[in-house]
């Protein structure tokens, strides 16, 4: 069948099972937007290309399927660099199609030309510059294969205009179905080495104070069920990192919650005191380890990762296993055989120490006095309790992100979507939109900061027009709160360029102007009704502005450069014996 590159591109995307593309057209990608009209694929027209990228990420986080974004050349390509880097840092499967100037014009500084593959080389798992129309079906197939296998990540395909423009002879081609990926240098290993699994099992059997350090890789491998079996079989307390919240339900007796810079005391301290850390799909990020030379000093390390470059990168492993997290956890379960109780292992002393920490150092905050501004933690508790249990939550970056991760009760995997590695302000609204598109029957809340909101709020227009009824809880503390906290704690309360003001912009008017229902809550008794009202509205997006106390700080905290043993607890717990 004779066709052209543009039609072949859309057909290739259909063949990959793509249901939705987040994008915005322009000159170089224009010919591809014509066949979209006749395609079964839904296109969502964003208001800024950064929005398209984060929507694709949100979609991927929520569904496990690759998100797809399509934008034009030059400024559109540069606008999507941030989401690509975000997806790269958090291993999010995503395919981004960018238009490019005609092949012959590349290198001439043509209108809206930029070196997209050059710019994105270091923030993508791989990228392609397509030079012939006939390569399109194969390259699209390869791109999806790379994005979704091994350690997932973003892949960019840059396509010159002439090869997709039916008016140009260079676009003519014969259609074909690729028979498989053609990537001689790409062969991810997923099955773990049984000998190493056996070694790991031996370490697990011998450990007295083991902790499972569960990372985002477990969710990427869809391995939450396997994780649960492993920890129940071995009776091992488990921390879930910022990228793995929900991998083990927060109300599971073995779940200790989030470790790291703003982790809870028990999760942080259990890792510090452990004699064995079983790191599953985690990468010893500095926000988890604190000062590295003081991190978990007595722990042996079992490290499982699909990406062998993660093994021994930060902390040398006693047993490093290259493999898919789910397959490796299943192999471990098999190798361990009978449960620990039958092996005569007594976990009680270790678990008693842990429950002692849990009793002395729960997450806490001081309730606001009458007439004072809302406490953000209180807002999050009410939001959590007033929303369906399977609600998907996407957050921005800052204090509100940490409070959400701390105070939400994650009962299911794939319900928490945030920007961990890159820490991208403005992530939440577009990510929530993408999640809602992928999971239309679920309630999706974006918990956003006032600083973040001002970076990507325009996508609420997209949400209204495209009928994607997400909800936004805006934690308006009038400040770039996380930066304010660092200035308060480490710069002698010298506040420099962190005040945003609480009343300008008027968020209610702004939200209404974008077609959203808008609610403002300022007093504690207004919070619950506002949440209830928002949860009832399902025909358009809702923004609830919570006017919050700017003085509130996130605790516990490991100050930068300190070891995790130097964790600062909530001021009310300072006198507790550690």
């Amino acid at each position: 069948m004779t066709t052209n590159g543009g039609e072949a591109l859309i057909k290739s995307l259909e063949n990959e099972g793509v249901e939705v593309i987040f994008g915005l057209p322009g000159g170089a990608i224009l010919p591809v937007y014509d066949p979209i009209l006749d395609s079964s694929i839904r296109h969502i027209l964003v208001r800024h290309e950064q929005g398209a990228g984060h929507m694709a990420e949100g979609y991927a986080h929520a569904t496990g399927k690759p998100g797809v974004a399509m934008v034009t050349s030059g400024p559109a390509a540069t606008n999507i660099v941030t989401p690509l880097c975000d997806a790269y840092m958090d291993s999010v499967p995503m395919v981004c199609i960018t238009g490019q100037v005609p092949y012959a014009a590349i290198g001439t500084d043509a209108f809206q030309e930029c070196d997209t593959t050059g710019i994105t080389m270091s923030v993508t798992k791989h990228n392609f510059l397509v030079t012939e129309a006939a390569d399109i079906p194969q390259i699209i197939h390869d791109a999806f294969h790379i994005a979704t296998t091994g350690r997932p990540g973003p892949v960019l395909v840059d396509i010159p205009k002439d090869i997709v423009d039916p008016g140009n002879p260079r676009s003519a081609m014969e259609w074909y179905e690729p028979s498989g990926p053609q990537l001689p240098g790409y062969n991810p290993v997923t099955v773990p080495d049984p000998a190493l699994v056996a070694e790991a099992a031996t370490l697990i059997r011998a450990a007295e104070r083991p902790v499972v350090y569960a990372g985002g890789g477990i969710l990427k491998a869809r391995g939450a069920e396997a994780l649960r079996r492993l920890v129940e079989l071995t009776d091992i307390p488990t921390v879930t990192t910022l990228m793995a919240r929900g991998a083990l339900p927060d109300d599971h007796p073995l779940c200790l919650g989030m470790p790291g810079m703003h982790g809870n005391y028990t999760a942080v301290t259990a890792m510090q005191e452990a004699d064995l850390l079983i790191a599953l799909g985690a990468r010893f990020d500095d926000r988890v380890t604190g000062r590295l030379d003081g991190f978990a000093p007595d722990a042996k390390i079992i490290h499982v990762d699909i990406d062998p470059a993660e093994l021994n990168k930060v902390r040398p492993a006693n047993v490093g296993i290259r493999g898919d997290c789910r397959l490796t956890i299943e192999a471990l379960v098999e190798a361990l055989g009978v449960d620990v109780v039958d092996q005569g292992i007594d976990r009680a002393p270790w678990k008693q120490r842990i429950s002692g920490w849990q009793e002395r150092f729960p997450l806490t905050y001081e309730q606001s006095a009458p007439g004072e501004a809302l406490k953000p933690q209180f807002v999050l508790e009410k939001l959590r309790d007033g929303s369906p249990r399977d609600t998907i939550v996407a957050s921005g970056v800052g204090q509100h992100q940490m409070w959400t991760s701390q105070f939400w009760n994650f009962e299911q995997p794939y319900t928490w979507i945030n920007s961990g590695g890159l820490g991208t302000m403005g992530f939440s609204i577009p990510a929530a939109i993408g999640a809602k598109v992928g999971m239309p029957d679920r309630t999706v809340w974006a918990v956003d900061g006032d600083g973040c909101f001002q970076m990507t709020a325009q996508e609420l227009v997209t949400a209204t027009v495209e009928r994607i009824p997400i909800k936004v809880a805006l934690i308006n503390n009038g400040y770039l709160g996380m930066v304010r906290q660092w200035q308060e704690m480490f710069y002698d309360e010298r506040f420099s360029e962190v005040e945003l003001g609480r009343t300008v912009p008027d968020y209610v008017k702004w939200a209404e102007a974008m077609g959203c229902e808008a609610i403002r809550a300022e007093a504690p008794e207004e919070v619950e009704p506002a949440v209830a009202k928002a949860n009832e509205i399902n025909d358009r997006p809702v923004v609830v502005e919570f006017r919050c106390d700017e003085r509130e700080m996130v605790f516990p905290m490991v100050p930068a450069g300190k070891t995790n043993s130097e964790l600062l607890v909530d001021p009310s717990q300072e006198d507790q014996p550690r």
């Binding site: 593959t117 050059g118 080389m121 270091s122 798992k125 791989h126 510059l129 030079t131 790379i146 990537l183 001689p184 240098g185 790409y186 990406d307 062998p308 470059a309 093994l311 021994n312 990168k313």
Partner: protein
Amino acid sequence: MTAERFHTVVVKVENKAGVLARVAGLFARRGFNIESLAVAPTDDERFSRITFTVDVASAPLEQVVKQLDKLVNVVDIRELDAATAVERELMLIVVAAAPERRSELLDLVRIFKAKVLSVGPDKMMVSLSGRPDRIDDFEALLEPFGIVEIQRTGRVALRRLDSSAIDETPEVP
């Protein structure tokens, strides 16, 4: 430069546009310190070979190799330490050679089995190929004459054959 500090790595890559930029970009981004780098086609036109020497004080060799392996266009990686590698390099050098010092220079050329490529009134162009350490030695001995211009290719390397003792017989008496 000690043998332990510098490792030679031979990478077979797909012969596609931009592959060298990917490899070089990776070195820069991860802070790998590269001593020398040579790129050449292979007998199979689908692939090229990149031979480079990395300072393993800048990053553990394990990380260098594993990060390279993540590049989709990298097909095969071989690490060669000094004991397993046969390494060669080519140097072109222009040395100041006033008539009264010429014979002294030619002695060195003869001892090292180098070649005189051209001679000017007060300069001489010489080439030498061989083991990189020999080239270092030769360069050092030419230094006092005054080096006008120098070009070295960077080393290329192959794994030593099992029975190749002859291969590394000293070339200098």
